[in-house]
Symmetry: C2
Subunit: 391 residues, 2 copies
């Protein structure tokens, strides 16, 4: 079972980080999800809840009465302690029994998936622990949570492969459907409908997944589709993935709409495509356990700037898993906005996107592949796009 | 437009609370949503973002380059400032221009919808403001955000009414489909399929929406459906709502499966139903602007305990809107776990559930209606269930 696999992995990481207790403290996770909760508990909570994982094998879920049956049914936490009115007594009692020297809680300046404790809940936790000696023993769980999320177990990899395959199947269907005159919105709608029919979810918010750009006037970035039509001489680009069985894919693909009489895309489009392809290959070649994130980014970025293109304004690659942006080491430049994430070392089992693009007069050429880090290098999870697809 | 309606409302609340600037500070909201963000911006963000609303009419969105087009397309924030590497300079500059005495940020011990700032982001914000005099001027935005979320505008009410109507339509269809021998899981699946076919979402997580209980042995609470079959003599109870156009409904309905020869449900089931119905009516009668949440709960609770039933282990009613548990004043008892929310005063425009139940040998009788507070009292948004539905 996935949750047990992840809890076992968490205990190994707790040993490495000298953490005695990992405390996930959350409430109303349908409103504000606690990213670590679903990984280890596999079920949401409504009332204020404390999920306690001890390094020596204890696992205690202190939850509101109505949340207890789901936790018990899941069968992951050994002890489920329901409360009716006040979580405080059971929480202090559990901690007093374990008497941890270091208690890790989920906050991180750098990694959103390790930052599931809200500031209000942090303040509330200090109140609940008032009078007990544990407030001073709190530390960030980021070293555990980030690695837990970033290093995929076999079951997680199986799910990501399946999610990538589903996205690729939908994109292959799309190739047969694309034609001159379709608008970005119509393409978005067509793809969304295929996602729904398969009972899948888009990998990120539905309004922007897929992102569809047609031609050179379409704004690039996390933007919604417009009524711009795909015309002869345009590049159509999709940034798209699905969420399947809780795990995501994230791909970018480009098509070119030939003008009457054209056999190939114009030379500048082909050159842009080939440069992007080479840059992704350069990133892929640099990717292996032990390398630092920014070095992988730099390898790809250099191919783009050496070819005389402006550098892409984002990281080469981000973690991929339960979320399309899954946290963990970042294959990105050392910019302030990325914090320390580009300084983290890549580990076997990490799954990344490799993505970049350049603007051309025909539209934005953007490519994105999904890869897993192996013991000695990396392996593509997607079938890389090696040629422009002609419509 | 909904977002503009809500920003205008926010400025009125800022005046009342003597707040000069409301700062929403967030990132990767597909992983950890910032509940206030969607209310005022209507679009998610990926990079670290600062959304600044000044009491005097300024609105500035400082966002990563890729997020800027969506913010601009939405057209709610007057000024959209994109950054590439570091949000700090633009953030300090914007604050320095507004020079606010009090800056409200989104944390709350009591109200999850006002608690969208994670602890890691709070720490990061202090770093970004280091050297500037604003760190000391931070205060909780909860008085603004809680009221903003809880007092519905006309457009929000229109959407909730539509969402309630859709849930009622699905439940009416279900009545025609229910029969002896269906399992809880089959009923859950049937309802989920109707939600999907209407292109709606469940009002809370799909595994637990609807909650289905058949007979007396089914666990009550936020639990998934089992393979227990609905048998003659059983009560079937659904806790169910949909999310339509971002707004939720939340209803509980009960059916009774007659045994061969039975015309009505057994007397104890009918007495339980009538008591629940009266208790909801007592809560409804007590609900009006100015009343304190726990008083409404107490009016309903008394009907249950006066009839000799054990009191329900939850609040009578919670806010309903963008989420099935929408924050704001709670119609609940003064239990520690509810913090100060049962002490808040009800205001016109608040939308609540009224829900309670009692256990019987035939199963759990649970009723839940949706209501809006008017100038002088309250109005049902749902058609209350006044009689047991027979199958």
């Amino acid at each position: 079972m996935l949750e047990r696999e992840k809890i076992a992995q968490a205990r190994e990481l707790m040993k490495r980080e000298e953490i005695d207790v990992w405390l996930i403290y959350c409430r109303e996770t349908s409103e504000i999800p606690e990213p670590a909760l679903m990984v280890v508990a596999g079920t949401p909570v409504v009332w204020e809840s404390a999920l306690i994982i001890g390094v020596n094998g204890e696992s205690i879920a202190i939850v509101g009465g109505p949340d207890a049956p789901a936790l018990r049914a899941k069968g992951v936490f050994e002890t489920v302690v329901p409360y009716d009115e006040d979580i405080g007594p059971a929480l202090r009692q559990a901690l007093s029994r374990l008497n941890p020297r270091r208690i890790a809680i989920d906050y991180s300046e750098d990694d959103v998936v390790a930052d599931g404790l809200t500031h209000g809940m942090y303040r509330l936790l200090l109140k609940r622990l008032a009078g007990a000696p544990y407030g001073d023993r709190l530390t960030s769980a980021a070293p555990i949570v980030t690695a837990l999320r970033a290093i995929k177990t076999p079951e997680e990899l199986r799910r990501i492969r399946r999610s990538v395959a589903s996205a690729e199947e939908i994109l292959a269907q799309l190739t047969k459907t694309l034609r001159v005159g379709l608008t970005e919105s119509e393409i978005h709608q067509w793809v969304s409908e295929r996602v729904r029919r398969r009972n899948l979810a888009p990998a990120w918010d539905a309004a922007h997944c897929p992102t569809v750009t047609c031609g050179a006037n379409s704004p690039i970035g996390h933007t919604g589709p417009t009524d711009a039509k795909a015309l002869p001489g345009d590049i159509i680009r999709l940034d798209f993935g699905v969420k399947e069985n809780d795990y995501c894919s994230d791909l970018q693909r480009v098509w070119y709409l030939r003008r009457p009489g054209e056999v190939k895309a114009p030379a500048e489009v082909r050159r842009a495509f080939d440069t992007c392809r080479k840059a992704i290959e350069a990133g892929f070649a640099a990717l292996k356990p032990g390398v630092v994130g920014w070095q992988v980014d730099a390898a790809a970025r250099k191919v783009i700037t050496d070819a005389g293109y402006p550098e892409f304004k984002h990281a080469l690659g981000h973690g991929l898993g339960r979320n399309a942006h899954d946290g963990g080491p970042l294959l990105g430049p050392r910019w302030a906005r990325y914090g320390r994430t580009p300084l983290a070392r890549v580990e076997a089992g990490n799954v990344f996107t490799l993505e970049l693009g350049v603007m051309t007069p025909a539209g934005y050429v953007g490519l994105e592949e999904d890869v897993v880090v192996t013991a000695s290098g990396a392996e593509y999870l997607s079938k890389p796009q090696t040629e422009i697809i002609y419509v």
